[in-house]
C-alpha cells in the first residue's frame, strides 16, 4: 500500500498547504479589510471544468495507485512469474507518445487560433490513440494464443486488468475527442473548441504518464 499512501500523502500535503494559506491568521468573524477590484480569493483562477478535470485526474490516480499497490502486494505470492512481454507493447507506447505530441500541437494551435492546426492535430492524435488501442488488443490476442492465459499466473491477470482499465479511460477520452472533432467539422470557430482541446491534451498527457508507469512496472518486475 506504500504507493497509494505516498500518493495520498502528496494530496493531503497540497490540501493542508492550500488550507493554511487560506486560513492562517484569518479570523472570519472579524471584518475583513475592504477589497476592491476582482475576486477576493474565492477560488482558483481556472475555468471550473478544468478544475473538474484536475479532480477527476486525482480520482484516476487513486485508482491506478491502488491497482499498483495491489500488484506489489500480490507479487509477494509464491506463484509469481514475470510477464512475457510481447514486442508490440513498445510499438504501442510509441503510438501513444505520438498521440500526446499531436494533441499538444492541436492545443498550441487552438491557443493561437489556427483552425487548420487544430483539425490536423486532433485527427492525428485520435488516429494514434486508435492505433494504440488496436495494438493493445493485438497484445492480448498474442499473449492468449502463446498460452499465457489470463489465469496462468497473476502477472498475466494484472496485465489484462491494468491494460483494460487504462484502455477504458482512453475510450472515455475518445468520446470527448469525437464530440470536439465533429463540432469542428461542422464549422465551429476555434475559440469554441479551445477549452475541449486543452482538456483533451491534459487528459492525454496524464494517460501517457500512467501508461509509462504501468509499462515500466510490467517490464521491471
Amino acid at each position: 500500500m506504500t504507493t497509494t499512501l505516498l500518493f495520498l500523502a502528496v494530496i493531503m500535503a497540497v490540501v493542508i498547504w492550500w488550507l493554511v494559506r487560506q486560513t492562517l491568521n484569518v479570523k472570519p468573524w472579524v471584518e475583513q479589510r475592504p477589497w476592491v477590484g476582482d475576486r477576493g480569493g474565492e477560488g482558483l483562477s481556472l475555468p471550473p471544468v478544468m478544475v473538474g478535470l484536475g479532480v477527476f485526474l486525482a480520482v484516476a490516480t487513486s485508482l491506478f495507485a491502488l491497482s499498483i499497490s495491489a500488484y506489489f502486494m500480490r507479487r509477494d505470492g509464491a506463484d509469481w512469474r514475470p510477464l512475457a512481454q510481447p514486442m508490440v507493447l513498445w510499438f504501442n507506447t510509441a503510438a501513444l507518445v505520438l498521440g500526446s505530441v499531436f494533441f499538444q500541437t492541436a492545443c498550441n494551435a487552438a491557443k493561437s487560433g489556427r483552425v487548420g492546426g487544430v483539425r490536423l492535430g486532433l485527427l492525428a492524435g485520435g488516429v494514434c490513440t486508435l492505433v494504440f488501442l488496436a495494438g493493445q488488443l493485438w497484445a492480448w490476442q498474442h499473449l492468449n494464443t502463446a498460452g499465457h492465459f489470463l489465469t496462468a499466473n497473476p502477472a498475466n491477470a494484472f496485465f489484462y486488468m491494468l491494460t483494460a482499465l487504462h484502455g477504458l479511460h482512453l475510450l472515455g477520452g475518445l468520446w470527448v475527442w469525437a464530440k470536439t472533432t465533429i463540432k469542428l467539422q461542422r464549422g465551429a470557430a476555434v475559440h469554441e473548441v479551445r477549452l475541449s482541446v486543452e482538456l483533451c491534451t491534459v487528459y492525454w498527457h496524464f494517460l501517457l504518464v500512467v501508461w509509462l508507469v504501468l509499462f515500466g512496472l510490467l517490464l521491471l518486475t
Partner: protein
C-alpha cells in the same frame, strides 16, 4: 475576550464585480423540470426519495433479522441462508445506498449551491447523470433478490474466498449483481463528487471565502473528497473479485479444497482484498460522519443562537479527521492474520484520530454553553446526536486499541458500536436536518407534536436497542450468528435480552410511520413558514422565494460580508445577522478588545 461593536462606513466597500455565472439549463417541459432535471434541488429530492425508499427495505430486513434473534425459529422462511442474505443486504444498503447517497447526493445537492451562493452545481448535466447511475445501481442491487440463489449472503464486507464459493448464499448471480451495482454506483458518485468539490472551489459567490462557509459545506466538501479518493479501492477490488469468480484468476484465491473438491485457484491472498476493502471502508464511515458533523454544528448554532464554538478548530479537525481516516483502515483487520506488527501502527493512528473528534464533541457542547437554546425539534435531535455519538465514539476507543479489540472483535460489541456511531447518531442528524430544512424546501413547517413524539421514541428506543447489545458482546456472543444454541458460557437471560431488543426495534421501526406521515401531511396542511422561520444566518435562508426557484437567488446573486455564525452579536438589534447583510450603521461588525 469581549467583543464590541465597531462601526464601518459602507462606502469602504466597493461593489464587487459580478461573478461569472454557472450556465443554467432552462427546461420547458414537466419531464425536463422534474424527471431529467439538471436542477440540483430536484436532483437532491430524487436522491433523497430513492435513498429513503431503499433504506426502508433495509429497515424491514433488520426487523426480520431481529425477529430471528429475539424469537428464534418463529418464521420458517428465515433460515440460516436467508438470514445471512438479510444481514448482507441490510448492511450494504444502509451504508452505501442510504447514508452515502442521502448525505452527499441528497443534502449535498440541495445545500451546497444554496449555501455557497451559486445558482446550481457547476456541471448540471453530469449531476443529472449521477442520479440516474445511482438509480440504476439501486435497481441492479434489488434485482439480486430475484435471481437464482438470491442475493449474496457474505456479509456487507464481501470477503473472499467464501463470497464466491458454494456454501455462502448467492455466490454466483447474487455476488455478481452486487459487485456490478457497486461499480455503477461508484461511477455515478464520481460524477456527483466532481460537482460537489468543484462547486465549493469555484462557484462561491462574491465574498464567500472558505472561512465564511458554514460547517455543513465543509463537512460535505471533505466527505466528497474522501469519497472520490477512497471509492476507487472498492472499485478495483470489485473488478478483481469479478475476475476471480468469472475468469478464474487468483487475485484473492489461494489453493483451496471446497466441498471436497480441489479448486483450480492458487497463490492469491484473501487478506489483499481486506486491505483494499477497508482502505475504502474506513474513509466510508467518515464519508457518512463528516457531513453529519458539519450539519449538526449548524443546527446547534442556529437553535442555540450562538456561534459554533471554535469554528477554526472545527474546520481544521474536519480536514485532519479526513486525512487521518486514510491511515487507520487496518483496525478492521486486527484479527485478520495480517502481519501483527501492523497492529502497533494502526492502533496508534486510530487513537490519534480520537483527539480531533473529541475536540468536535467539546465544541458542540460548548456551543450550548452560555447559549439561548430553543428546544425545538431540530435542537432535540442535535442533542440526541451528541449523546449517542459520545457513546459510540467512546466504544470505538475500545475497538481501536489493538489488544483490547481482540476479545471484542467479531462479537455483538462491534455491531452495537457501529450502529450507535454510524446509524443512530447520523440518523439523528438526518431527521433533525429534515425538520430544520423542510420549511425551506416546501414553505411549510413540520408538525411539532408529531415531531417531538417521533424524537422521543426514536432517541430513547434506539438507545434501548444498542446499549444492552454491547454487553451481549462482552459476554462473547458472536455477530452474524443465526442462533447461539447451547454453550457452556452464554446464560438463558441473553435470549430474554435479545427478545427485549427485538421488541424495542419493532417499536422504533413502526414509529417512523409517524415521521413519514408528518412529511406528507405537513406538505399540505403545515403552517406556512415564511422565508426564514429559524432566523438563521446562512444563505439558503436568504433566497428570494421559498421554496427557492430555479436559479436559487433571483436576478442578483448575494454578496457575502460576514461569516456564517453572527448570532447574538453584541450591539446588534436582532440576535442574528444574515451573511449577505452589508455592514452599516446599525449592523455590527466586531473586533476583539
Amino acid at each position: 475576550m469581549t467583543y464590541v461593536h465597531v462601526g464601518h462606513d459602507a462606502t469602504a466597500y466597493a461593489p464587487p464585480a459580478e461573478v461569472a455565472e454557472v450556465e443554467l439549463y432552462h427546461p420547458k417541459t414537466f419531464i425536463g423540470k422534474y424527471i431529467w432535471s439538471q436542477d440540483a434541488k430536484i436532483i437532491a429530492i430524487q436522491y433523497s426519495i430513492t435513498a429513503i425508499g431503499v433504506g426502508l427495505v433495509a429497515l424491514v430486513l433488520s426487523w426480520l433479522m431481529r425477529l430471528q434473534l429475539g424469537f428464534p425459529n418463529s418464521f420458517s422462511f428465515i433460515d440460516p441462508s436467508t438470514y445471512l442474505q438479510f444481514v448482507t443486504m441490510h448492511g450494504m444498503i444502509m451504508v452505501i445506498y442510504l447514508l452515502t447517497a442521502l448525505f452527499l447526493g441528497g443534502f449535498g445537492n440541495y445545500l451546497i449551491p444554496l449555501m455557497v451562493g451559486a445558482r446550481d452545481m457547476v456541471f448540471p448535466y453530469v449531476n443529472m447523470l449521477s442520479y440516474w447511475f445511482y438509480l440504476f445501481a439501486v435497481l441492479l442491487l434489488m434485482a439480486s433478490f430475484f435471481v437464482p440463489g438470491g442475493p449474496t449472503g457474505s456479509g456487507w464486507t464481501l470477503y473472499p474466498p467464501q463470497s464466491i464459493l458454494p456454501g455462502t448464499p448467492g455466490a454466483t448471480w447474487g455476488i455478481i449483481l452486487m459487485l456490478i451495482s457497486l461499480a455503477v454506483f461508484i461511477v455515478g458518485f464520481t460524477m456527483g463528487g466532481l460537482n460537489y468539490v468543484v462547486t465549493v472551489l469555484q462557484a462561491r459567490t462574491r465574498g464567500m471565502t472558505l472561512m465564511r462557509l458554514p460547517l455543513t459545506v465543509w463537512g460535505i466538501f471533505m466527505a466528497s473528497i474522501l469519497a472520490l479518493l477512497a471509492f476507487p479501492a472498492l472499485f478495483v477490488s470489485a473488478i478483481m473479485m469479478l475476475f476471480d469468480l468469472l475468469l478464474g484468476t487468483s487475485f484473492f484465491m489461494p489453493g483451496i479444497v471446497s466441498m471436497g473438491k480441489q479448486l483450480d485457484y492458487g497463490g492469491g491472498s484473501p487478506v489483499l482484498f481486506q486491505h483494499l476493502f477497508w482502505f475504502f471502508g474506513h474513509p466510508e464511515v467518515y464519508i457518512v460522519a463528516l457531513p453529519a458533523f458539519g450539519i449538526v454544528s449548524d443546527l446547534l448554532s442556529t437553535h442555540a443562537r450562538r456561534p459554533i464554538f471554535g469554528y477554526r478548530m472545527m474546520v481544521w479537525s474536519i480536514v485532519i479527521i479526513g486525512g487521518l481516516s486514510f491511515v487507520v483502515w487496518a483496525h478492521h483487520m486486527y484479527v485478520s492474520g495480517m502481519n501483527p506488527y501492523f497492529g502497533f501502527f494502526f492502533a496508534t493512528t486510530t487513537l490519534i484520530i480520537a483527539v480531533p473528534t473529541a475536540l468536535k464533541v467539546y465544541n458542540w457542547v460548548l456551543t450550548l454553553w452560555r447559549g439561548n437554546i430553543r428546544l425545538n425539534v431540530p435542537m432535540l435531535f442535535a442533542i440526541g446526536f451528541i449523546f449517542t455519538f459520545i457513546h459510540g465514539g467512546l466504544t470505538g476507543i475500545f475497538l481501536g486499541n489493538v489488544s483490547v479489540s481482540v476479545p471484542l472483535s467479531d462479537t455483538m460489541f462491534v455491531v452495537a458500536h457501529f450502529h450507535m456511531v454510524m446509524a443512530i447518531a447520523p440518523i439523528m442528524v438526518v431527521m433533525g436536518s429534515i425538520y430544520h430544512w423542510y420549511p425551506k424546501i416546501t414553505g411549510r413547517m413540520l408538525n411539532v407534536t408529531m415531531g417531538k413524539f417521533h424524537f422521543w421514541v426514536t432517541f430513547l428506543g434506539s438507545y434501548a436497542i444498542y446499549l444492552p447489545m454491547h454487553y451481549i458482546g462482552f459476554l462473547g456472543v458472536p455477530r452474524r450468528y443465526y442462533a447461539m444454541g447451547n454453550t457452556y458460557f452464554v446464560p438463558e437471560s441473553v435470549q430474554t435480552l435479545n427478545a427485549a431488543i427485538t421488541v424495542a426495534t419493532l417499536i422504533v421501526g413502526v414509529v417512523q410511520i409517524v415521521f413519514l406521515y408528518n412529511l406528507v401531511w405537513s406538505y399540505f396542511k403545515g403552517k406556512p413558514s415564511g422565508d426564514n422561520p429559524w432566523e438563521a444566518t446562512t444563505l439558503e435562508w436568504q433566497t428570494a422565494d421559498t421554496p427557492p426557484k430555479h436559479g436559487n437567488f433571483g436576478p442578483e446573486l448575494p454578496v457575502v460580508y460576514r461569516w456564517a455564525y453572527d448570532y447574538s452579536v453584541p450591539g446588534a438589534d436582532k440576535d442574528f445577522i444574515p451573511q449577505n447583510q452589508p455592514p452599516g450603521p446599525t449592523a455590527a461588525s466586531v473586533a476583539p478588545t
